[in-house]
Symmetry: C2
Subunit: 333 residues, 2 copies
């Protein structure tokens, strides 16, 4: 690996994303990306007694699916990076406890998928033949934990995002014919003092712009280098803020910038307010949709930047603001 500029790195032998898998919930199945997912489950419980157990089953079966699709035996996967939104990341720990692959738990809130991909790419170049990444989220387990009991039927503000029920998983390999992870720009924590837990887009947008600007300055690339620059997940509110901030910095990304939280739900037919969010949103949109676009060469250069809000309900109750983070990976074929 080579350092480029202050905070970006290129790979001497860019790891290939061998295959991806995704499983999503019933609401996501009604969205515009429905046909891209490996499986859409029919209800939020999927035969389990609790939403937490359902989420564990989703990430477990997503990982089983990607292993089966890749044809790589799990014994040949050297390590696994996984995380989720639940307290102490129980979705991934319980979902993957029978996997028998050396396990690194990550926490980056909704940035966890790209954080996992970045670390897996580093390990693939450094020592591993194959590595695995997986992250998940679940609307019901997240609402219950971060906001209100679902049974309360609480009204959601227009700036709020809808946590995606779903998981995505990818296998990276030293050998392959792409799509390749060619660069990473790991992000710094950025906290601009936003305190509204129902406006995560606003809290995370500054971190996204910090990482994106750093990526451009480090690499000398400009927005038009990429076929698509995709955030995960800022929603409609965050997207508007991003366009404003980037424009004030002299970057026009209007024509090729979009957001996983916007892509996954239909704005008119599905009432999600500011769009989707959660570790499973970016993970399933990439693993389901974007990866297939890359492999079909409909898209050749993608900059995927996942954003996370590093807070919990206690920190909000204690009057704290919401620190944001954003990690970028450049994927090319």
């Amino acid at each position: 690996m080579k350092k480029i500029g202050n905070q970006s790195y290129s790979f001497d032998s860019p790891p290939t994303i061998v295959d991806c898998a995704s499983i999503v919930g019933p609401k996501e199945a009604q969205g515009p990306l429905s046909k891209y997912f490996d499986l859409c489950i029919e209800d939020e419980f999927w035969g389990e007694k609790t939403w937490e157990k359902a989420e564990s089953k989703i990430i477990k079966e997503t990982v089983n699916t990607v292993i089966a699709k890749s044809g790589i035996p799990s014994a040949q996967i050297d390590c696994c990076f996984a995380g989720d939104l639940l307290n102490q990341c129980i979705s991934s720990s319980f979902g993957l406890r029978e996997l028998s692959i050396p396990f690194f738990g990550v926490f980056g809130a909704c940035s966890a998928f790209v954080e996992s991909m970045s670390l897996a790419a580093i390990c693939t170049e450094a020592f591993a033949e194959n590595t695995l990444c997986a992250t998940s989220s679940h609307f019901c387990s997240a609402e219950k934990q971060f906001r209100f009991p679902l049974e309360l039927g609480n009204q959601r503000p227009q700036s709020s995002q809808w946590t995606v029920t779903g998981a995505g998983s990818a296998i990276l390999s030293k050998n392959g014919t792409g799509p390749y992870i060619t660069m990473i720009t790991p992000g710094k924590i950025v906290d601009m003092g936003i305190k509204d837990g129902n406006n995560m887009g606003a809290a995370m947008a500054p971190a996204f712009c910090d990482t994106l600007t750093t990526h451009f300055l480090d690499t000398g690339r400009n927005p038009s280098y990429y076929d698509a620059i995709i955030s995960g997940d800022l929603g409609y509110v965050g997207k508007e803020i991003v366009l404003d901030i980037m424009s004030s910095k002299g970057y026009n990304i209007k024509s090729n910038y979009n957001d996983c939280g916007i892509l996954i739900f239909d704005k008119l037919k599905q009432d999600t307010h500011s769009g989707g969010s959660g570790c499973g949103c970016c993970a399933s949109v990439f693993s389901g949709y974007l990866f297939k676009e890359l492999r079909a060469r409909k898209m050749k250069k993608l900059l995927l930047i996942a954003t996370g809000a590093l807070m919990n309900s206690t920190s909000s109750q204690q009057g704290e603001s919401i620190p944001g983070i954003a990690h970028a990976i450049s994927i090319e074929i």
Copy 2:
């Protein structure tokens, strides 16, 4: 890096642990390792209004201390790995939000310190000049979150461990004169069905033995290769189980095996039942005590294996068992 056996890796240019720092709470200050810590705070609040904010301040000041001691400007630290026990890891996210170093959040429960050291060592060999690791825990924030309100004065079973208030931090560097991280053995999740949240030692001991046995088989080393094999943190109950399991596998580690949770508190004078635990226990015992023993060459070969219980209070309420994990690093000078 080179793969050794199934699951262990050696470094071509072993990273040096340049310096360490540790800050602990008032109970830890009364323990046998008191003189080794950089700072012992006088009460559990340290001038903050909540225990969560106090824990954030502890990890923040620990990181500031190690940066100051190392003489390495933070702008020359390429990335940081950090984690803790609080929901969504808010201690490390909030404590390190002003650090302005690319940030990877990890979650491995009490295994987080060695997980961070392993990933930081990989990055140091792969691309980084310098990397930083830090983890923390706090008795009051942990009890409140995982068990009962402290005000209840609940009686603790004899098998329970006492979460350490404290943090440890280390800076790794490509260049230096040791102590070196020479090998890592990342662990798999092991769940033997233990459901007692007040007996973490029993839940994590099988994962420890799995990683330790794998390390011996992979490397061809035997227990006597190491001056010390230290777990973090199995306590007295876990230590007994470990000695039994390892003996049944044909390994005698009685003479050089000990546990951070046993080392940090005085068994007779301090009533902690099974000993210490928490992300801050292994972190502060290594950063305070073990690192200084290595640097003074009183100890030359250390195998540090941190163990984590990957559960939360919801999973226990839902009748789940407790998956354990253990990551090993070999540190030599």
